[in-house]
C-alpha cells in the first residue's frame, strides 16, 4: 500500500516537473520580452538619475542655500563648473541640457555652452563665480536654481504630475498648470470616453449581426462570417484612409445626400468626432462579432422558444433568457474592443478633428519627436492604470453574471 502510494507520488511529481519544464520557456519569454522592458520603460516616469548623477557636486554644494538668499555662492558655481566639464567629457551634457530645458524652457544652450567652456578650462581660475556669471548670465536666474533644487533627487514626481496637468508651485505645494498648457487630463478623459462610445456602438451593432450569423443556414452563415472577417485582412491604414475619400466634401456620401435633396449643401463629415467613430467601429467591429459568435453557438435555440411558448413577449424573453446567456460573449468582446480602442492614435490623427486626439498620439510625440521619455512613460502609466481598472471592472461584471446565472 505504502510503496504503491510512493510510486504514484513519484509519478505525480515527475509529471509536475515535466509541466513546469514545459511552462518555463513561456514564463521566461514573457518576463524578458514583455514584463522587463515594459517595467524598465515605466521606471523612466520617476527616474531622475541623469539629472542627479550629472549634477551631484552641485547639489551637494547647494546644501541649505536657496535662490531667495541672494546670488548663487562661489562653492555652488565652482561645483557646477566641475560637474558640467565632467558631463561633457562623458558625453552627457546633451541629455543634461535637454532635461534642464524641460524644467525651464530656454536654458538648453546655456547648459551646452557653459559645459563646452568649462571643459575647455575657461573657468579654471578661482574664484569662478564672477567669470561664469559674466560670460553666461543665465545662471543668475533664480527661477533656474529653483527648478534645479527641485530636481535634485534620484527619483522625481515631475513627470507624473505633469501627465496630470499638475506642477510644483513656488512654495513646493502642488498646483494646476496654466490653462493654456493643460492638455493631458482632457486628452485622457477624451480617450476613455471615445473608447467607451466605440465599445457600446460595437456591441449594439454586433449582437444582431452575430445572431444572424448563428441562425442562418450553414452556407449563408459561412458567407456572412467571411464578410465580417474580410476587413481584418486589409491594412489598418487603408481602411482608415478610405473613409477620408468616402466622407470628404465632394465624396460619394455627400454627393448622394445632395442629390436626394436631403441636405442643401455638402456636410462636413470628415475630420470630426463622427467620422472618427465610424472609422474606429469599422476596424474594431469584427473583434466583437467573433467573440459573440463563439458564445452564441453554444446557446441552444430551444431556450428562447421555450420562453416564448410560455407567453413571454419577445423583448422580455430576449432580455431575461438570451441576454444573460450571451453576456460572457458581450463582456469578452467589450474588453477586447475597449482595450484596443484605448491605444488608438493613427486613426484619430488621420480622420479625427483637432479636438479628437487621443492620449497615445501624445505618447508617440514625446517618445519619437522630443525624446522626453520621462513624460511618455508617465502617460503610459496612466494608460496602464486605466487598463487595470477596466480589467477589474470586466472581471467583476463577469463574476456577477456568473453568480446570477448560478442563482437562477
Amino acid at each position: 500500500m505504502s510503496s504503491g502510494g510512493t510510486r504514484t507520488g513519484h509519478r505525480a511529481r515527475r509529471q509536475n516537473l515535466l509541466m513546469a519544464a514545459m511552462v518555463v520557456p513561456l514564463v521566461l519569454f514573457i518576463v524578458f520580452i514583455f514584463l522587463w522592458p515594459v517595467a524598465r520603460f515605466l521606471w523612466l516616469a520617476v527616474d531622475n538619475s541623469d539629472m542627479s548623477a550629472n549634477l551631484s557636486r552641485t547639489f551637494a554644494a547647494i546644501g541649505d542655500w536657496r535662490p531667495a538668499d541672494g546670488p548663487p555662492p562661489e562653492p555652488v558655481l565652482a561645483a557646477l563648473v566641475e560637474d558640467l566639464a565632467e558631463a561633457r567629457a562623458n558625453g552627457r551634457d546633451g541629455i543634461l541640457a535637454q532635461l534642464v530645458n524641460q524644467r525651464l524652457v530656454g536654458t538648453r544652450y546655456l547648459v551646452i555652452k557653459t559645459a563646452k567652456a568649462a571643459s575647455e578650462g575657461k573657468f579654471d581660475m578661482r574664484p569662478v563665480g564672477e567669470a561664469l556669471l559674466a560670460a553666461h548670465s543665465g545662471w543668475n536666474n533664480p527661477a533656474l536654481w529653483t527648478e534645479l533644487i527641485r530636481a535634485s533627487g534620484a527619483v522625481t514626481d515631475y513627470y507624473l504630475l505633469g501627465s496630470l496637468d499638475l506642477q510644483r508651485s513656488a512654495n513646493g505645494g502642488i498646483e494646476r498648470v496654466p490653462a493654456d498648457q493643460a492638455v493631458f487630463l482632457d486628452a485622457l478623459l477624451r480617450t476613455v470616453w471615445i473608447s467607451i462610445v466605440v465599445t457600446v456602438i460595437c456591441a449594439v451593432l454586433a449582437i444582431p449581426l452575430a445572431q444572424a450569423i448563428v441562425s442562418a443556414p450553414p452556407s449563408w452563415s459561412r458567407l456572412l462570417f467571411a464578410l465580417v472577417l474580410f476587413p481584418l485582412w486589409t491594412s489598418l491604414l487603408v481602411r482608415t484612409v478610405i473613409w477620408i475619400i468616402v466622407l470628404q466634401k465632394n465624396g460619394p456620401v455627400n454627393a448622394a445626400l445632395v442629390f436626394t435633396g436631403l441636405v442643401p449643401e455638402p456636410l462636413t463629415l470628415i475630420y470630426t468626432r463622427f467620422s472618427l467613430y465610424i472609422a474606429m467601429v469599422q476596424v474594431l467591429l469584427p473583434l466583437m462579432v467573433l467573440s459573440l459568435v463563439s458564445v452564441m453557438r453554444r446557446v441552444p435555440t430551444s431556450y428562447m422558444k421555450a420562453a416564448l411558448s410560455l407567453g413571454a413577449p419577445w423583448i422580455t424573453a430576449w432580455r431575461r433568457v438570451q441576454l444573460p446567456l450571451i453576456m460572457p460573449g458581450i463582456l469578452a468582446g467589450a474588453a477586447i474592443v475597449f482595450v484596443f480602442a484605448l491605444g488608438y492614435y493613427i486613426t484619430p490623427t488621420l480622420v479625427g478633428g483637432p479636438g479628437d486626439q487621443m492620449i497615445s498620439s501624445y505618447i508617440a510625440f514625446y517618445t519619437n519627436t522630443t525624446l522626453n521619455w520621462g513624460l511618455a512613460a508617465a502617460l503610459s502609466v496612466q494608460l496602464l492604470l486605466i487598463l487595470l481598472l477596466a480589467a477589474l471592472l470586466f472581471w467583476t461584471a463577469r463574476a456577477l453574471t456568473r453568480r446570477r446565472g448560478a442563482l437562477a
Binding site: 546633451g94 492638455v183 475619400i245 483637432p354 519619437n368
Partner: protein, 349 residues
C-alpha cells in the same frame, strides 16, 4: 579533436572575414521613403555604387530620433546614415548619437547655404513650406500673401494647415505683417508667441488640419480646402505629374528647413559612411537629387548642375531665395516641447 577545432576556427575566421568584407561594401541609408527615396536612388546612390562598388541599402523612416537613440543605447546599430530634420540632428549631436563631421568630409562650410551644415550633419534636402492654392477653385486673382491666406472674406473657403506649432506659428506671424527675416526676433519677444496664437484664433473655424502631406494634397484636390500650406515638392510633383492647376505663391514669403545626413555613432560601417558623405559633398554629386526632386541641397554651387527650367521649382533657386528665411533650429530645439503642448491645448479648445 584538434583538427576539428582547427577547422571550426578557420571556418569562423572565414565567416568573420566574409561578413566584414560584406559590411564594408554595404551601407544602410535611411531616408523619407516614396519618391524622395526614389530620387536619391536614381540620382545619387546608383552613381556612387557604379563608381565605387559600395552597395547602398535604403530604409525608410519618419525622422524618429527615438529609433536612433534605441539603437545606440542598446549597442546594436543597424543604420549607418540617417536623415533627421535639423533640430533632431542638433539634439542627437549633443546627446552623442551622431558622429561629428570635419571640413575634410564636408568641404568648406562657407560654401553651403545658411543652416544647411551643422556639427554632425550636412543637408540631404532643403525644403520649403509654401503657400499653395488650387487655381480651379480660385479663378482669377489668387492670394498674394499670408495675409490673404488668413482673409476668408476676400477668399472664401477652407484652408489646410499642418497641425503643429512649428511652421504654423511662422505663417501666422507673416500673416500679421512680419517679414520672414524678423519672425524669430518677434517670436522671442515677450508676448510674441501670444501674438501668433491670437492671429491663429482669427482663422481657426476655417481650417482643416492635416498631419500627412498626402492627406493635405488629397484635401486640395477634392475641394475640401481651396488653399494649403505644404512642402513645395509635393505641390510641384502634382503640377508636373498629374497636371493639376495648382499655384505656389513663393513671394508670399516662406521658410525653408533642412533634413541632414548624419552618421550614427557606433555604426559598424562608420568609415564607409563618412566616405560616402565626402563624395556627396561634391556639388555635382548632390545635384543629382535636386534634378529629380524639387528640393535643394546644401552646396550653393549645386544649382549650376540643375537645368534652369527645373531650378525654378527649388526653394534655393536665386528667384525664390530672396523671399525665404531659414527655420531657426535653436528656437525650436528649446521651445518645441512647450509650444507644441500649448498648440495642442489650443487646438482642442
Amino acid at each position: 579533436m584538434l583538427k576539428i577545432w582547427q577547422s571550426v576556427s578557420v571556418a569562423a575566421l572565414l565567416a568573420a572575414a566574409v561578413s566584414t568584407a560584406q559590411a564594408a561594401d554595404t551601407i544602410t541609408v535611411v531616408g523619407w521613403g516614396g519618391n524622395w527615396d526614389k530620387a536619391y536612388k536614381e540620382g545619387v546612390w546608383d552613381k556612387y555604387t557604379e563608381q565605387t562598388g559600395t552597395k547602398i541599402v535604403q530604409e525608410e523612416w519618419g525622422g524618429e530620433l527615438a529609433k536612433v537613440r534605441a539603437q545606440v543605447q542598446s549597442g546594436s546599430v543597424t543604420w549607418d546614415v540617417v536623415s533627421p530634420e535639423a533640430p533632431s540632428v542638433e539634439i542627437g549631436c549633443a546627446e552623442g548619437l551622431f558622429v561629428p563631421l570635419t571640413p575634410e568630409i564636408t568641404g568648406d562650410p562657407a560654401k553651403y547655404h545658411p543652416g544647411t551644415i551643422m556639427e554632425c550633419g550636412v543637408a540631404s534636402d532643403t525644403w520649403a513650406t509654401i503657400l499653395a492654392y488650387n487655381a480651379d477653385a480660385i479663378p482669377g486673382e489668387g492670394p498674394k500673401s499670408w495675409a490673404d491666406y488668413f482673409d476668408v472674406e476676400k477668399f472664401p473657403g477652407k484652408r489646410g494647415m499642418l497641425s503643429q506649432a512649428q511652421y504654423t506659428l511662422e505663417n501666422a506671424m507673416m500673416a500679421d505683417g512680419v517679414a520672414p527675416a524678423d519672425v524669430y526676433t518677434e517670436l522671442r519677444k515677450p508676448g510674441g508667441v501670444d501674438r501668433a496664437f491670437a492671429k491663429l484664433d482669427t482663422i481657426k473655424p476655417h481650417v482643416v488640419w492635416w498631419s500627412s502631406s498626402t492627406q493635405a494634397m488629397q484635401n486640395l484636390a477634392s475641394g475640401e480646402v481651396v488653399m494649403t500650406d505644404q512642402y513645395n515638392a509635393r505641390v510641384t510633383n502634382d503640377i508636373v505629374n498629374e497636371k493639376k492647376n495648382y499655384k505656389i505663391v513663393w513671394d508670399a514669403g516662406f521658410f525653408y528647413g533642412t533634413d541632414m545626413w548624419a552618421v550614427v555613432k557606433g555604426s559598424p560601417n562608420e568609415k564607409a559612411a563618412l566616405e560616402l558623405l565626402k563624395w556627396f559633398s561634391i556639388p555635382e554629386n548632390q545635384a543629382g537629387f535636386s534634378k529629380l526632386y524639387a528640393y535643394g541641397t546644401g552646396r550653393v554651387e549645386a544649382a549650376e548642375y540643375v537645368p534652369a527650367e527645373w531650378l525654378k521649382n527649388l526653394p534655393t533657386s536665386p528667384d525664390h531665395a530672396k523671399y525665404g528665411a531659414t527655420y531657426d533650429t535653436q528656437f525650436w530645439v528649446e521651445n518645441k516641447e512647450a509650444l507644441e503642448a500649448r498648440f495642442k491645448a489650443w487646438l482642442a479648445q
